[in-house]
């Protein structure tokens, strides 16, 4: 028994356990997502996070000790963000053809997303770290977390905000477009990708390839534009 205990203590101090647990939780969550045929409520990221968080709490493991191993997965976010240039390049022709409409509506939507979220939480008494953490919530997670980290927010909190935004956006986008008469597939895709990144885009892609393409384009561009604008908003609003 004490041998097992020593092994447990040893594993807790090294990276192996955290890394293995992260990959296993991800596979379990992906399997569940397949089984439910990608239902709107089934988000493998959220499920993997819940599984691991429960595991940490149940085993009394600290986040720092878990992150010891998980940091190797997190490190790949940097190169993955750079790699977003490849799908963006594939959309370059589309961007060039509709450059001004895309830039104007995306910048407006991106600014509205960040500023309205910041103003509402500030008005309702949230502290500065929360206001900063919520600013990039419409951006795809790797970029949003980078922005949050650089500006003094809490990246973990930002990751949760991004997820909630994406799930909500994915659920509401199509009914809202129908209600308001936003029928242009290009406009739908751009709006979904700008307001609620990949999760809304994935939903729109089921309806139309055009919407999916414009959603993908909006995810990348919104990441760039938000990264440029949010530091200014923070200077002005806080």
């Amino acid at each position: 028994m004490s041998g097992l205990y020593h092994a447990w203590v040893y594993l807790q101090s090294g990276p192996l356990l955290g890394l293995t647990a992260t990959l296993l939780a991800w596979q379990a969550a992906s399997w569940l997502d397949e089984r439910t045929r990608h239902a709107a409520w089934s988000n493998p990221i959220v499920i993997a996070i819940i599984l691991l968080a429960l595991g940490l709490i149940a085993s009394g493991t600290s986040y720092q000790s878990y992150f010891n191993g998980a940091q190797y997965v997190q490190f790949l976010l940097g190169p993955a963000t750079v790699a977003l240039a490849v799908p963006m390049y594939a959309n370059l022709g589309t961007i060039r053809r509709n450059f001004l409409p895309i830039l104007l509506s995306l910048t407006a939507g991106s600014a509205v997303a960040a500023i309205s979220a910041m103003l509402i939480v500030e008005a309702l008494g949230a502290p500065r770290t929360v206001v900063i953490s919520i600013a990039p919530k419409s951006v795809t997670t790797p970029i949003a977390m980078g922005i949050s980290q650089d500006l003094g927010g809490l990246p973990a909190l930002t990751a949760i905000f991004v997820l909630i935004t994406g799930i909500f956006g994915g659920l509401i986008a199509l009914p809202l477009f129908r209600l308001l008469g936003i029928r242009d597939r290009r406009a739908q895709g751009l709006a979904g990708g700008t307001a609620a990144h990949g999760l809304a885009t994935a939903r729109l892609l089921l309806e139309s390839d055009t919407a999916g393409a414009f959603g993908g384009l909006a995810i990348g561009l919104n990441g760039l534009i938000t990264a440029i604008m949010v530091p200014l908003f923070i200077r002005w609003l806080l």
Partner: protein
């Protein structure tokens, strides 16, 4: 694969140097993305190795932000104390962004096709 990964890391490295040296508060990888984009425009597209590596990384993009998300275990108090503010801000801001971008784009594209 190794070559493509090196290229991605070099872009990220240069991007981080630019971000730190210039003091511009944009994440280094975002500058890296712009650098790679410029390179792709000059080279007229990615080579097959880069395409494959980028696809492999992006296919499991979700996995890469699980570790930070688990950090929620340290932020449960923050979530609890600000639950109301968040429950109002997240849906409303998302709704507004959908409406502004959607209407804006549809209006600016009117008359086309």
């Amino acid at each position: 694969m190794v070559q493509a990964l090196s290229l991605l890391l070099i872009c990220q490295l240069l991007g981080t140097v630019i971000a730190r040296a210039s003091g511009v508060p944009i994440p280094g990888p975002v500058f890296g993305l712009i650098l790679l984009m410029i390179l792709l425009i000059i080279r007229r597209g990615p080579d097959p190795g880069l395409s494959t590596t980028a696809q492999a990384l992006l296919r499991h993009l979700g996995l890469l932000f699980v570790p930070a998300g688990v950090g929620i275990v340290n932020e449960l108090d923050v979530l609890r104390t600000n639950a109301l503010a968040l429950a109002v801000a997240l849906p409303i801001s998302t709704l507004l962004a959908l409406v502004v971008t959607g209407f804006g784009m549809q209006f600016l594209l009117r008359g086309e096709r």
